[in-house]
């Protein structure tokens, strides 16, 4: 028994419900010579699920027997630990875990894997697969190192890169991979899935409520299914008027937005700062905080359209500063104060 999100996760390419055209193409790929892949799409779209399906398609059930190891690497300055998930046929790593030292991981680990041949004689494929998560967080140096590895060891190594956006993948890598885009499923597709789960779990879920859940989860199936499970565990009867639970930290964001819209003063800035600190201490990424506040203000109906132009402008402006700076609180607060002054200037 597990969460519905895992229970109803498809494990073969045939069973994938969203983006069936794409699944068919992936199936074609696994039959012929398999290229390097670059899989990209928004969070929750099902990139990881597809990768697991591809692995299963390539290697059979053996790819599901996985274990987690910790490997350490020595650099001049410090020791790095990285978690590696591996089966007989593939390994999976998240190089961004070690920050700017990711190049070393690639150099040592990939070369090591690339140089060892597939030992298992029964293996369906001659090559091993390396899955690289959060590929857009990899430094440029490491990407350049990767580029060489991809060419050199093409005979016994395939790489599957997984990322949210290709913007930060360097061109030589992109041109060596086949790009696979995984869009978020539509509202209808998610509602259908929810209703499928509901009927399996013998819970009544009306179409309109399923739509509402899908809509509020912003087309993210993971969120939608989790939300549904939460609702099912909290309330006995699900009618159309049931309140759909929100993630706690998003409620804090709503709270912040509300405060900014209500009063624009130094005191508000102080209270907002408190809340931002709290969000940060809960490990919410600072750029996400800024983005959510910005979107909340942008779609708020009480703010004049003129102010919104300034708000969205300063949001990108300060997000840029945040990425190139050190102290995120400075920039988030600067954004909040400039949003406040934008609101003030249109008020009178």
């Amino acid at each position: 028994m597990s969460l519905w999100i895992d229970k109803y996760r498809p494990t073969t390419l045939e069973n994938l419900t969203f983006n069936q055209g794409l699944s068919r193409k992936l199936k074609n790929l696994t039959d012929s010579d398999f290229p390097h892949l670059l899989i990209f799409g928004p969070s929750g779209a099902g990139k990881k699920t597809r990768i697991l399906c591809i692995l299963k398609e390539l290697f059979g059930d053996g790819a599901e027997k996985i274990k987690i190891d910790q490997r350490s690497f020595e650099t001049q300055r410090k020791k790095l630990d990285i978690n590696i998930i591996s089966s007989k046929y593939h390994i999976e790593l998240t190089p961004s875990d070690v920050g700017t030292y990711d190049k070393i991981v690639f150099q040592e680990l990939l070369t090591e894997i690339a140089q060892t041949q597939q030992i298992d004689a029964d293996a369906k494929q001659r090559f091993k697969v390396v899955v690289i998560n959060e590929a857009d967080e990899i430094t440029r140096d490491a990407q350049a190192a990767l580029r060489r590895t991809m060419e050199k060891y093409m005979s016994n190594l395939r790489i599957i890169l997984c990322c949210n956006s290709t913007s930060r993948i360097i061109e030589p890598i992109r041109s060596r991979c086949m790009l696979i885009r995984v869009p978020l499923p539509s509202i209808d597709e998610i509602s259908t899935t929810l209703q499928h789960i509901a009927s399996n779990e013998e819970i009544h879920l009306s179409k309109s409520l399923a739509d509402k859940i899908s809509l509020q989860s912003q087309r993210n199936p993971r969120k939608a299914i989790l939300t549904f499970e939460v609702m099912a565990s909290q309330k006995k009867k699900l009618n159309d008027n049931v309140e759909i639970p929100k993630v706690d930290w998003e409620q804090v964001i709503d709270d912040i937005v509300g405060k900014i819209v209500k009063t624009q003063a130094a005191e508000t800035l102080s209270t907002v700062r408190q809340k931002i600190y709290e969000l940060q201490s809960h490990c919410i990424p600072p750029s996400l905080i800024l983005k959510k506040i910005a979107l909340g203000l942008f779609t708020n109906e009480d703010i004049h359209s003129k102010a919104k132009f300034d708000i969205i402008n300063s949001a990108t402006h300060y997000d840029h500063r945040l990425r190139t700076g050190r102290h995120s609180i400075f920039h988030i607060e600067a954004f909040v104060s400039s949003a406040m002054s934008a609101i003030l200037s249109t008020k009178y």
Binding site: M1, L3, G44, S233, P245, G325, I329, F330, L344
Partner: protein, 636 residues
């Protein structure tokens, strides 16, 4: 702060060779001291509290409130270290010496010039406390550690730690500390075998009590804060000395001197002596040329923050205008002044943080405009900070003071600022680290199969909040515990929690036993707006019980099968007892059963596995409604 009792030196002046005025006019006895009488008395009182312990004279201060509270065997003061803090030159060292001499101690001074690594200091203190210059006097030793804020928190970490070890002597069993006991002490002889305590007073002196290295010390120390001496009193004192030294000076000139030295008597005296070398008359120009206003004082952080947020009084300003007469306008004046202060302090990061955390508290006009301007400056600061650190562009260090100075430009006021030490950012950082660790342990606990599709980011932003809610279900009603629906919910929740390696464990908080989730993912998911417990303890306890049952039945399945294999070789008596069990075991695997039975029997089979000779039944709770069966192991 120290009074120069000039008369007593009258006859010396003529016959001794030239001496630094600072030493010459240093007070020699407690009577000579002047200044804040309450501070002097504080220090003296503290030292006198040691009398019984050190000299075995006087009455034990059993009536003393501190001691009765603390109930010290040697009747020492509660805080065993005295920490004197204050700006340079206000007489801290002098006071410590004078008071120590007054009470009859032999002073051992350790200052910044000495090597202050752990081992060296250990030997030094040990020597000081053990040996006694027996030939000259019978005075017990006492240690004064000057400039203790100079120890850095990293390299000399041992130093402060060692000091604390000494103070904590009773709990300390290390050999070195044992030897620290002065030998001629009767009290100690009685307790020779026991770990030996610190029996001599230690006085520490520092300029900045907020230095990171001193933080652990502050809990053990009585802190006496010195304030700057008022300029007019200082000027009067200087006048007396000038007269004595046959240096002609008028009181207003000396006042300027006192002002620019910022109450630092030592500095004034040095300057005066310097002037005396060349002329017999002190003039305004001479004083200003010696640049004492620019003395290289490492001002404490608070002083600088005060300077930033407070507009200086007009008196000082008029003086400053002379000092900075090269610079024409007001703006340049405060910039160069603050720039100097900030760059000599050098702790830009902390200074900036202090300004950032304090500035919003001020009432200022035209707020929006100023805030967005200061934000641009903060951004500038962040940029140079980022570049100098990550790209090693250390040339940028020169620009650090300016963004900080801008806080003065926008937010300074006449009122005395109520500053707080900036700790929010650090607290946030600490909290974040703690939460990162919780997240790591939570993630590592998840079964590999389910972990594949999660990363840290998804876990925290999209997952944990839902997970917490799912494992805190709402049960039908509190009375219908045995209903099938509730049973299935419970069993499902327990399954999920097992696959994520989550548990409800008992904790005692405020005297009440509560159930808390472990690893504490509720800390990750919940915010201060609703930190309270999510579900009743009742539900949590039921879930915890269900998890235990599941774990046991899983373990039971394994060990029973092992037992069955071995059953041929086991002894007669054991096989008898097994027979009874086997029936149950058959039941357990044989047919589908209701949840209630499963519950009961899996419990029993779990109990039977360890084949207890004694059964002990404990019912928790007094009312039947909440009575539950408890296992012995729950209490162990």
């Amino acid at each position: 702060m120290s009074r120069m009792e000039i008369d007593s030196y009258d006859n010396e002046i003529t016959n001794i060779k030239p001496k630094l005025w600072v030493d010459k006019y240093r007070p020699k006895s407690y009577k000579d001291l002047v200044g804040d009488e309450s501070v002097n008395r504080d220090v003296l009182t503290w030292l006198v509290q040691w009398n019984y312990c050190v000299f075995e004279k006087g009455t034990p201060h059993k009536d003393n409130i501190i001691n009765t509270q603390f109930n010290d065997r040697w009747d020492r003061p509660e805080k065993k270290i005295l920490l004197l803090t204050g700006p340079p030159g206000c007489g801290k060292t002098t006071l410590a010496h004078v008071v120590a001499t007054h009470c009859g101690y032999n002073i051992v001074e350790i200052n910044a010039s000495d090597d202050r690594t752990g081992q060296v200091i250990k030997n030094k203190i040990k020597d000081a406390l053990e040996t006694r210059s027996a030939v000259f006097n019978k005075k017990p030793n006492m240690i004064i550690i000057d400039e203790i804020d100079g120890v850095s928190s990293s390299g000399d970490e041992n130093f402060v730690k060692l000091l604390l070890d000494l103070v904590d002597g009773e709990k300390q069993s290390s050999r070195d500390v044992n030897q620290l006991m002065p030998k001629g002490n009767k009290t100690s002889k009685k307790k020779k075998a026991v770990k030996k305590p610190l029996l001599r007073p230690i006085i520490c002196i520092c300029n900045d009590q907020y230095t990171a290295a001193l933080r652990p010390l502050k809990a053990y120390a009585k802190i006496v804060n010195f304030k700057r001496m008022q300029s007019n009193r200082l000027a009067k004192r200087l006048k007396e000395i000038c007269d004595r030294e046959k240096l002609s000076a008028d009181i207003t000139t000396l006042f300027v001197l006192a002002e620019s030295a910022e109450g630092d008597l030592r500095n004034c005296l040095t300057t005066l002596q310097f002037i005396k070398q060349s002329s017999n008359k002190v003039t305004r120009e001479l004083i200003l040329n010696t640049n004492i206003g620019q003395k290289d004082a490492n001002k404490s952080l608070f002083t600088i923050w005060e300077e930033i947020f407070q507009i200086r009084s007009s008196k000082i300003r008029s003086h400053d205008s002379v000092v900075a007469r090269n610079s024409e306008n007001n703006v340049d004046r405060y910039i160069s002044r603050l720039e100097f202060l900030i760059s000599t302090n050098g702790e830009y990061e902390k200074l900036m943080q202090g300004c950032f955390e304090n500035y919003l508290k001020y009432n200022f006009h035209d707020q929006k405009f100023k805030i967005s301007q200061i934000n641009e400056w903060i951004h500038f600061y962040d940029q140079i900070n980022h570049r100098s650190n990550s790209m090693q562009l250390f040339g940028l260090f020169a620009y650090f003071p300016y963004p900080i100075i801008c806080f003065h430009r926008f937010f300074s006021g006449v009122a005395h600022p109520h500053l707080e030490y900036p700790r929010k950012d650090y607290e946030c950082y600490v909290q974040q680290q703690a939460n990162e660790n919780i997240m790591s342990s939570a993630l590592n606990g998840i079964k590999t199969k389910y972990r594949l599709t999660l990363n840290r980011n998804i876990f925290i932003t999209e997952f944990v909040s839902y997970l917490l809610k799912i494992v805190s279900p709402e049960l039908e009603s509190d009375n219908g515990l045995s209903s099938n629906l509730n049973k299935s919910i419970l069993s499902r929740v327990a399954d999920i929690m097992l696959s994520f390696n989550l548990k409800y464990i008992q904790k005692i908080e405020d005297g009440k036993t509560i159930y808390a989730i472990e690893p504490p993912i509720d800390q990750l998911a919940l915010f201060s707006n609703k930190k309270r417990a999510f579900r009743s303890d009742m539900t949590k306890r039921l879930i915890a019980k269900e998890i235990d049952i599941k774990i046991e039945s899983a373990a039971g399945t394994r060990s029973i099968s092992v037992q069955n294999q071995k059953s041929s070789s086991i002894s007669q008596s054991e096989s008898k007892s097994l027979k009874g069990q086997e029936k149950q075991i058959l039941d357990f695997f044989g047919r589908p059963k209701t949840n209630m039975e499963l519950d009961k029997e899996s419990r029993q089979s779990g109990g039977n596995l360890i084949k207890p000779k004694v059964w002990y039944r404990y019912h928790e709770g007094s009312s039947k409604a909440v009575r539950t069966k408890m296992k012995l192991k729950n209490f162990l």
